[in-house]
């Protein structure tokens, strides 16, 4: 394609977006919604995965002792713990220390707990090899006087299930929205084509190639895609930052800052937007390109 043609065709595409601003806005709206939901489920999934990784790499196990144990027996449990091969260190937390920590975290309202302390004594155990986690936990459970071992794998399993659910639900929603947005974009362009069918028939009669007819519509689709990608990235950033601000104070779950994912997220949005615009454009044009002369005008 010659430069002069390219310049002309691109400017036609830009003009089309503006001339059909209502349909363009509708397409952008749906595409933004689609990208936002995709982005939100991706962010949620990333956070879950990061949390899972953090849990997985944690080599500390909490061992709670039975309530009726006296300090001597508690020491005995400590010795048995140290005797296990995979345990590097083990630190004792008395029930009093536990109450203090509870109080520090949750406020003085829990002062009264000191008198009627429901918390058990515990050991904070550090493992050497995380791969032998299950095996070591089993050994700890066998020690007499041990009540419970906080089992990482249960939380891990729940989170993994949640992650799978989020991914699947996200995928289904995105798939449906993708179809809807493709439909709306192609309809927008089809409407433009219908409005401009007269021009298209003249274009063809004076010897325009199919690409000459096609390019402005594709440019239009791509512009809609790019605008949607920019809007969705900005909205998602503000939304995510807001959620982090509100939630992070209480739960340290959303631990991935937006800046970590902003570039790949924006690039994927851009790619998806451009691809959708392009496909939407191509679908709607093919119908008119097959026709000739009066057929285009419906005569």
């Amino acid at each position: 394609m010659r430069f002069s043609s390219a310049k002309y065709l691109f400017s036609e595409g830009f003009k089309n977006v503006w001339k059909n601003w209502m349909m363009s806005a509708a397409s952008i709206g749906v595409l933004v919604l689609c990208l936002l939901l995709t982005g939100a489920s991706a962010l949620l999934s990333i956070n879950i995965t990061n949390t899972l990784n953090a849990i997985e790499s944690q080599n500390i196990v909490k061992v709670y002792l039975k309530n009726e144990l006296d300090s001597q027996k508690a020491d005995q449990v400590g010795k048995s713990l140290r005797a296990i091969e995979n345990i590097v260190s083990c630190e004792f937390y008395s029930k009093e220390q536990a109450v203090e920590k509870f109080k520090d975290t949750l406020g003085k309202a829990f002062e009264s707990m000191k008198e009627n302390n429901p918390l058990p004594d515990s050991y904070k155990v550090t493992l050497e090899d995380i791969a032998k986690y299950e095996e070591t936990v089993e050994k700890i459970k066998e020690i007499e006087g041990v009540d419970t071992v906080v089992n990482r794998s249960e939380l891990f399993e729940k989170l993994t299930k949640f992650d799978r659910f989020v991914s699947l639900a996200g995928l289904i929603i995105v798939f449906i929205l993708a179809l809807v947005s493709l439909f709306i974009i192609s309809n927008t362009i089809r409407l433009t084509m219908y409005n401009r069918r007269f021009e298209i028939s003249i274009m063809k009669s004076v010897g325009a190639t199919d690409w000459f007819v096609r390019v402005p519509f594709m440019v239009e689709g791509v512009i809609i895609g790019i605008i949607s990608a920019i809007i969705s990235s900005i909205v998602l950033k503000f939304f995510y930052d807001f959620i982090i601000q509100v939630i992070k104070k209480n739960i340290s779950f959303f631990n991935t800052p937006f800046s970590d994912v902003s570039v790949p997220l924006f690039l994927s949005f851009l790619l998806a937007g451009v691809l959708f615009g392009l496909i939407g454009g191509l679908i709607s044009i093919s119908k008119y390109l097959k026709k000739e002369g009066g057929e285009i005008l419906g005569w």
Binding site: G207, A208, D210
Partner: protein, 229 residues
């Protein structure tokens, strides 16, 4: 310039539009195609523009066999010809200049060439002062001259005019055919479909009559008049 060898056209619905037609239009010739509605004139033009393909026979345009050319070649075939329609087919939102320039831009011409060529062609059809006007602001005759300017702008070897005077008053019609005749004198082949016998009589050109898909007469105008007398 145009050669139809035993060309027939049967539409998918079974209508036979042309039956075994043989026509040869030489370079720089001016030919009127006449005939009643539904006689096959439009199909004849559609076959030349390759809007339709013949059911059998062969069609040559400017020495090139276009009978079975690929879809990709069609735009390049059409650039060899300028087409003038009965309903002008001008784009309302574009001014006269852009309507004519449009045909050049489609072929990938540079803006520099467009700016040089369009005013020249507008002057040729007598519309140099109306370049900024919209088609709706012009009379029927003027609109048809814009359409003619658009057909001429790429300097085609062949002009196809499909009832170009059908929507304009008789005086203007005469001007349009006069203009086509002038263009023809410069070497461009002109094929004009018309209903108007007055025009055909006035301009002494070759007349091909199509009736019920058949060429029923193909004569120089002088002979037609003699026969009618």
């Amino acid at each position: 310039m145009i050669r139809f060898n035993n060309v027939s056209k049967v539409y998918p619905n079974g209508t036979t539009a042309l039956k075994n037609i043989n026509i040869h239009v030489k370079k720089s010739e001016f030919v009127f195609i006449v005939g009643a509605s539904g006689s096959g004139k439009s199909t004849f033009l559609k076959l030349i523009m390759h809007e339709e393909e013949p059911s059998c026979g062969e069609i040559f345009i400017d020495g090139m066999n276009i009978t079975n050319i690929s879809k990709k070649e069609v735009p390049y075939l059409r650039r060899k010809m300028g087409i003038v329609f009965q309903d002008f087919r001008l784009i309302d939102k574009m001014n006269v200049f852009d309507n004519v320039a449009f045909a050049m831009r489609v072929t990938g011409a540079s803006e520099r060439d467009v700016k040089k060529r369009v005013p020249y062609i507008l002057a040729l059809v007598g519309l140099q002062d109306k370049a900024d006007r919209r088609p709706a602001e012009l009379s029927g005759g003027e609109q048809q001259r814009v359409s003619l300017a658009r057909a001429l702008v790429n300097n085609p070897a062949l002009i196809i005019a499909d009832e170009p005077t059908g929507n304009i008053d008789p005086e203007m019609s005469y001007d349009i055919v006069e203009l086509l005749s002038e263009i023809n004198k410069r070497g461009t082949t002109v094929v004009m479909v018309t209903h108007e016998h007055n025009l055909v009589k006035k301009f002494k050109k070759r007349v091909v009559e199509i009736s019920a898909g058949d060429v029923t007469s193909d004569k120089k105008i002088t002979e037609v008049i003699k026969n009618e007398i």
